[in-house]
Structures are given as C-alpha cells and as structure tokens.
Amino acid sequence: MTATTQPSTIDGLAIRKDFPIFQQAPTEGRLPLVFLDSAASSQRPAVVIDAVSDFYARTNANIHRGVYQLSEQATLRYEEARHIAAQFINAANPRECIFVRNTTEAINLVASSWGRTNLNPGDRILLSVMEHHSNIVPWQMIAEERGATIDYIPLTGDQRLDLEAFDALLKNEPKLVAVTHVSNATGTINPIAEIVRKAHAAGALVLVDAAQSVPHMPVDVQALDVDFMAFSGHKMLGPMGSGILYGKREILEAMPPYMGGGSMIRKVTLEKTTFADLPARFEAGTPAVADQIGLGAAMQYLSGMGMENVRQHEIELLDYALEQLPGVPGLTAFGPEDVNERAGVISFTLGDIHAHDVSSILDSENIAVRAGHHCAQPLMHDLGVTATTRASFYVYNTKDDVDRLIAGLHKANKIFGLS
C-alpha cells in the first residue's frame, strides 16, 4: 500500500530533540507525551521559537517606514520571509504572498474583497461538503449579502469528492470553486490539479484551502494553477499568528483592499485615498513581523528535511496505523483506504463511546488527540455522527506513538465495559 518504495529518511524520535516541548519532563505521574493533534496545531522546533525571540532581542522595530538600522533590518527579515514562502510553494513572485494571521483570515479576505466586487445576485459559488467551517462560513456571509447561491459537491461513501457530481455542478457556471486540498477531518486528498482544470474550463476561479496540505506534502501553486491558496503557519511548525494567502498577481491587483489603515495606502486625503501595490495593499497596520519571520524559519526547517520525505514519513505511519487499528473492537475509521489519497489523519468512532470520553481517557495516558466535529459539522452530518476522535501525524511522530494510541483505545473499551 506504500506510495513509493523509498523509505522515509525521517526519524521521528531523533527529530523530537529539536522540539523543546518533547524535552519537558511530564507532569508528576504522567507518561511521556504522545502528540497526535498536529492537524489542529503543530508543535514548534527551537529554531522557530528562537527566530521569534531573536527578532525581538536583536532587530526589533516596526517595518517599512523606518530609516534607521533596526527598522531596516526588521524590514529585510520580514521580506526575506516572504521570499522563503514564495519559494516554498513555488509562487512566481513574492508579491503574490500576502501575510495573514491564518487560513481563516486568508479566506475571509478573498470572500470579502473578491466576493463583494465579483458576486452579484444569482451568481453561484461551489464548495464541498467536506469543507472546514473556515471555508464555508465566509462564503455563506458574502453570499447572503450579495444574493449569491452556494452549491456543495457531495461525497462518495469513503469521503472523497464525488467528481461526477462536481462535473454536473460546474454546469451551474459557478464564479468560484473553493475546496480544501486535504480534509482535516478525514485526511482525504483531493485531486486539485484536475479540479482546477475543469473549473477553469467552466470559467470559474479556484481557491484552495491548503491548511492541511502545505504542511505535509510538496505543493506547487504554479503546477496546480490555483488562483488563490490559503494556509496557516501554526500547522506547519511556525508561530501562531502567521500564515499566507497566495493569489495570482493579476487577480489580486484587481481586488479592492480588505482592511484599511497604515502601510496599505499610496496617498490619503480627507476626501479620497489611493492604495498601495501588492503586497502592502492587503497588509494594513503593523503586521505580526516576528511571527512571519518565524514562519520563514519553519519553512526552511521543513525544506531541510524535504517535503517529499515528510510526506513519505506520514505515509509510513498511516500505513502502520491503518493496519493496526482494525484490531481495536468497535473501531470504525473514516476516509479513503488508499494511503495515496490520504494524508496522515485518522478519524474514527469507538463503539458508542463519545469522542470526548475517548479523548479524556487517552489524555489520562498523556496521548493528545482531538475530539469533536473538527470544525466540519456538515461533514459530520454526512457521516451520521456528531463527533469523531482524530489522530493526526507529523514529523515527530513514530510507530511507538501509534502503539500507545492503540493501547489507550483498548483501555477506553475496558472502562466502558466494551471488551
């Protein structure tokens, strides 16, 4: 089932040495931490934490407008981070990378700025049933304001996009298709290149929610030909508060600003304001400079490992887990079986034990997993559950973590008298 024959060069245990949180002694009486919630937010290596501290300790100043040395250095480091980000996703131009707080802000920016100028009554946009709330609610808000209609691509039985239904829905001539690259709730990897090709042929732009893909696999915006792409730094070893909205230059340039304020203007008078070029036009106010520099450091750290290797490492863990988990009585796992169509995410239910109870019992073993609707209530509804328990992998995980998880699940069954 393994995707390639090359084994991963990544040793999760060795990598943990780079992460201060794994060096902490566990609280009195608790086992060592097994962190299986990276899909919610990853841990951060010392190089990232230090990049942030170091900025504050050495080159801290506001950027762009300062003539003095500190401000100059701060500006250079901030723009350097933008260059690193552009390289990381192979953007044609760093100006196409707008710094945002997170995926959510990126999508809201597009919904608000592009949506308010391009959506008219009767227009349609196309989402999918597996979207994270961040890629649903902004569209519902702007659609209601503009009188537009939202269609949703339904799912197949194993939680993949129903591509035939997609073809049919394109006949509605949506102006935009906004889909996730990887589902945070099931790990499903969507065929973005194909979706983009078809959407473009039907005259639609495509926004990709890459919150769960860019951290875990090589992603090339030019190869995929996406029009917009959004992702968060905190899910890829970077600081919370960092993130990127990628947009094709000519599309971004035609969009009005999102927030107004300092740095995004060309000239302000009492009557009228003209706006700056990209990327400043979309970065009003003092940005989270240190956080974005930290994101640059995270990307360099990941590039050092190689994103192919990151992906391969997660495939190996996934393979192992999908092999072992069926041995747990009562366990039902969702998502595609083929690891080539799936990222390192496993969502499951355990008999009739509620996900929160499973998660609390795992926590008593110091195993961190997520329980709930994963901000994907429509998907939960589609699965016929209110909540699942989710384990997700990253570079610092090992097969031992999977073994600890499985032991924890057996314990949950025992407490609830199920085995």
Binding site: R30, D357, S360, G372, A387, I415, F416
Partner: protein
C-alpha cells in the same frame, strides 16, 4: 487522572439515564448545544404548584454531559422553581462527585444551562 472521571456514578447514569425522553406538552422546553463539541441537550419540564412535577431530557453527547443531565433530573425532581433557579454550578459539580477538568466543564454544565434558560426564558445567559 481522568480515570477518576469515569467512576461508577457517571457510567451508571450514562448507561441508565433517569427521566430520559421528552414531554409533550410541557410548561418549559429548551435545548442548546455545546458549540465546541456538539453535545446537544433538550429539557422539558412540567410544573405544578410552582414545583417541578415532571421533567425529561433528551439529546446526545458524551458520558459527562448525559450523566450530568440525568443527575440534574434527580436533583430537581419535585423542587420549587425558586430552588431550581438557586442551583449553582458548584452544586451540580458536587453531585457529579468526579473531578471535572476545565475542558470538560462545558459538558458537565450544559444541562444546568439548558434547564435555567428554559425556566428563566431564552434571554437568560449564565456568566462564566
């Protein structure tokens, strides 16, 4: 640590809930969800002489939220509305007899929130 959470009282109420169901008609009915985890609780109450005559809860969710609803039904059975209004979070947590961690508080207290919202009317909102 959390092992303590699943002591017999919780599992017993979870497996054998008291007053599970709905009442139709009811004098007060209210339902709410815990937006963070999706737990749902609905409580119906019939009142006689300003006292709770009958009550029932329905919904779905974790052992903590469902057991706590069941325990709350027991606590309030036959109580006057004023007494019910006077029940504090601490009172309910005490009855649960297990240590509730901050992340599970909303589960444990959802039923009380729903019951009070029903009795006070929808406008009421608890402080936290």
């Amino acid at each position: 640590m959390s092992d303590d959470l699943y002591r017999d009282i919780i599992l017993d109420h979870y497996r054998n809930p008291r007053n599970r169901g709905t009442l139709d008609p009811a004098d007060y009915s209210y339902e709410d969800v815990n937006p963070l985890c999706g737990d749902e609780i609905r409580i119906d109450v019939r009142v006689k002489d300003d006292k709770i005559d009958e009550s029932a809860f329905s919904g779905r969710g974790c052992a903590i939220s469902q057991a706590s609803a069941s325990i709350l039904m027991e606590m309030t059975d036959g109580k006057s509305l004023d007494d019910v209004k006077a029940i504090t979070k601490e009172d309910l947590l005490e009855e649960l007899m297990v240590p509730i961690s901050p992340a599970r508080l909303k589960c444990a207290l959802l039923s009380l929130k729903v019951l009070k919202a029903g009795i006070y009317g929808v406008g009421h909102e608890d402080e936290d």
